[in-house]
Symmetry: C2
Subunit: 234 residues, 2 copies
Amino acid sequence: MTRVTAQMSVSLDGFYAGPQHTGDGDWMESAESAKFFRITRWVTEGMAWRERQGFTGGERDTNSDVIAETFEAAGAYVMGRRMADGGEVPWGEEPPFRAPVFVVTHRPRQRVERRGGTSFTYVTDGVASAVEQARAAAGGKDVAVAGGGNLVRQVLRAGLLDELELHVVPVVLGTGLRLLDADLDLGEKEAIELDPIRVIPTPEVTHIRYAVRGRAPLVLDDRGSGGGPTRVGG
Amino acid sequence: MTRVTAQMSVSLDGFYAGPQHTGDGDWMESAESAKFFRITRWVTEGMAWRERQGFTGGERDTNSDVIAETFEAAGAYVMGRRMADGGEVPWGEEPPFRAPVFVVTHRPRQRVERRGGTSFTYVTDGVASAVEQARAAAGGKDVAVAGGGNLVRQVLRAGLLDELELHVVPVVLGTGLRLLDADLDLGEKEAIELDPIRVIPTPEVTHIRYAVRGRAPLVLDDRGSGGGPTRVGG
């Protein structure tokens, strides 16, 4: 059955890139890219990613297997416009997706066909529509929300996400683009509950996959009568 | 050898409590407490915590073992003033620490002795001094930075922390007090690097212990020549 999944590499403090680069300077020299490169280093060092990208080398290890599995599971992708535009040059004529990609955007653009099975369809009627179109195109495989963070949040907020896998990189970045930020639109006594369904530890990154249960109210537990709050070990 | 350790329960989005309660209303009814209770639920359900707190019941399980180990490893504690004051009533005459606690504060207060080996010494000359006093009192065991988040950040920022254990609770809170926030004072191309040295997955919480390597510059990897950035799987 098709699941809607998302996976993002994030720092220990929840960032997937540095502060958004907006000036005229070179993105490659920006704080956004410096932090983005640190967070995705484990991906670019993985053989499975390098093969899809047309690069040689890389490690055939647990991290590479996680990348390969992620590519393999996806029958279609949903992607934000900024990511799609940013990837257009580096991904080249044969992008690594090898599946239909549905780009959520406000600016219409003609569908683009690339070699190797990748296409980009620009969807202007919202994220739910893009997810539905991807579901129809996924051939029973998963719909992978490829990013960026803003789109992952939109899908999560809309209750459309079945699974979220975080690749937690052991680094603290301090500032930047945060995957899970305040625009999730949660009430002050409301949360999104998840279940961790798989944890794969490696020295470079901790892979944690969650099933999304959904929104739930926060309720007081027995500390209301049996005692008071303590932060010991907490 | 004495290590300086910290452990905090955090949500998937890095919060350890809701937005700080500042009004005149009941803290127990606040958004701060509602989110704090959700994050620390796994602790209060653990038999090892309940025993120390004088409560009956609880689960004797992996999570309880992690709590027991955390208590056992600590020869002395360092704590922020807000946490110490907030805990004074609920911890009562026999607090769960059973070790000297050094409270970092700007407001002097006489040392307090409690039953069971717990004492509170109020340190007004800074966090480094509190850590040193705790180290001298720890008898070769670890110095545990018990919280709150502000104090953990101060110790991390000052380069005094050897190990950080995050108990990652599978819930997204959206807003609140964030453990790792912008006041870590990192440069825009600088990071704090860590090594994950132990991961214990349970359904309720993922325990990840990191050794802190320290500050390091962020450098461009081979994507500068071999290709461009991609966010695939990243």
